[in-house]
Symmetry: C2
Subunit: 371 residues, 2 copies
Amino acid sequence: MAFRFEVLQKDTSSRARLGRIETNHGSFLTPAFLPVGTQGTIKSLTPEEVVEIRVEAIVGNTYHLYLRPGHETIGKLGGLHTFIHWKNPILTDSGGYQIFSLGALRRISEEGVAFQSHLDGSLHFLTPEKVMEIQRILGSDIAMVLDECIPYPSPYEYAKASNRLTTRWAKRCLQVRQENDPALFAIVQGGVYKDLREESAQRLVEINFQGYAIGGLSVGEPKSLMGEVLNWTIPFLPESAPHYLMGVGTPEDIVNAVVLGIDLFDCVLPTRNARNGTLFTPSGKMSIKQAQYAEDRRPIDETCGCYTCRHYSRAYLRHLYLANEILSSRLNTIHNLYYYIGLMNKIKEAIREGRLLEIYKKQQLKGLETE
Amino acid sequence: MAFRFEVLQKDTSSRARLGRIETNHGSFLTPAFLPVGTQGTIKSLTPEEVVEIRVEAIVGNTYHLYLRPGHETIGKLGGLHTFIHWKNPILTDSGGYQIFSLGALRRISEEGVAFQSHLDGSLHFLTPEKVMEIQRILGSDIAMVLDECIPYPSPYEYAKASNRLTTRWAKRCLQVRQENDPALFAIVQGGVYKDLREESAQRLVEINFQGYAIGGLSVGEPKSLMGEVLNWTIPFLPESAPHYLMGVGTPEDIVNAVVLGIDLFDCVLPTRNARNGTLFTPSGKMSIKQAQYAEDRRPIDETCGCYTCRHYSRAYLRHLYLANEILSSRLNTIHNLYYYIGLMNKIKEAIREGRLLEIYKKQQLKGLETE
């Protein structure tokens, strides 16, 4: 598969960069936020709506799609893009994060990981080679290696052993990579231990992948550690490859991480929050169910250009939420994703114009206010 | 409010007619099917999608909107059209049907009906005058009188007394009607008793309304009785007013009722069935969850032009349904409503071309097959 990453411009006062990723399904600029289409749909939206929100690439979940409807089925139906009616790039995770979230339901060995389906308790065994096959059959544009995502906190010795296993697995993934396979990204692990993060990054870079993700963050560690881990890790990653921070995060997290050199993000936060009635605005989060909005004819955010803000009042959105209407999830999701993509667009513009640190300082202040 | 009904063409071999209803929010052709926007939304769809499906008018539920968010709130926010972002005609029911469905939670008197909210148990009292006020404040285009919808079966004496009460209530509604109020339709009741249906129709017509609904059907009576009740009632209704069959029904019911002289329909069937994974097609109903569709790359209906059939396979729709995804309800609702509106358009065309009885016979045959 065609895959190319190009750094278009470097920020003068931070490690931030403006870049472009090219795939067989089109290109997109970075830093980019990829919404999560867990089960073959960005929850509640059609692909046309996702495009209208200005999303350029999405994430699919190998674990979920493997279990249901099954990658073989999706393959027979023409691959994931055709199956879900999405023409633009898709990054698939390896399922590592989901499998390790299963806790007691999984057992790890050198060969791979055995687990029970959260759906029906059926037994499965995934290896590095198998997750490559699954992502190949899905027709992903960017595949992730199988990794072990360790919990926070993890003892040093466990983190070290796990880290080395993750590196061996990454190598096995690359070894079975075929000519037309998706681009392959490795995942740096190592918990919150500086030397393990460095070792992980160095060894993976020696093997040589098309991109590098930083995993194992946003798993319950204190906020302050995220920046530290990024600071330890990113200097060891090649500048010529994209840096992907998995499963992160809040608008503040994203701005911070861009400053430290991250190019790609994915997170369920904007979509999940939307379904719970929590909306992002430039002045902080808003809980639409609050009584103060009962007769409020203003949109969520008067400065927002999304479909929801152009046509609906807070009062109506509150009503839909309280009445448990499907349209509530839709309209809230449209707004939150539009907010996130708008943030990414502001970040890109700021890098272009050398003003990123302004946004960074503003977000830092707001982070302090709202936390 | 402006309201006008015009019969454009009469069918030569049945009581069917092609007509046009004009309101302050635009006009639409009849026979028409109005989807139900119970709580201020056609469940799962945006107004733009409803228009794209070629829906021209919708129903709002006075009972639900009165309880939540409250008609006063909707009034303050500019009326129902503005609140829900719908520019075309809205017909509001009076709440009679919902209140009488509450069973033990309501108590009826000459003055009106006392009931407990299904939401929070709070006590309410609605009178004919009050439901007029509510519908006025909602800014409905077509309002319904308060009626008692009796269950099937009901004893003759009860049906008779109830019927007369419904007539007195209808008169009270008309007496408080103001200059700019919505058009007002009366509701013929009378259970499955021929003389009561005739009496109800005659007395309401004497009072003189802008339209006449037939209520109390589709409440559990045998299918065959619906045609009988329509045959007893419609000849007593003025040809110059629209005839509205409330809460009906299946595609077969609709074709049958058009032949007997009905102009307007509303029903939750296409939207509710959609959310339950039951889809309408020219060859009958389809349950999308069936295993036979697991790898079926065909659309629901290869002859259908709806958004869902243009872009998605049965396999994907089955996956979304089994995965309990919101998009499942959306795509299924789009298809089912498109099917219903398509049926109404075929009916109108057939009346225009004098071919309605062909459709009638085809539907009758299919009704026999699928029942």
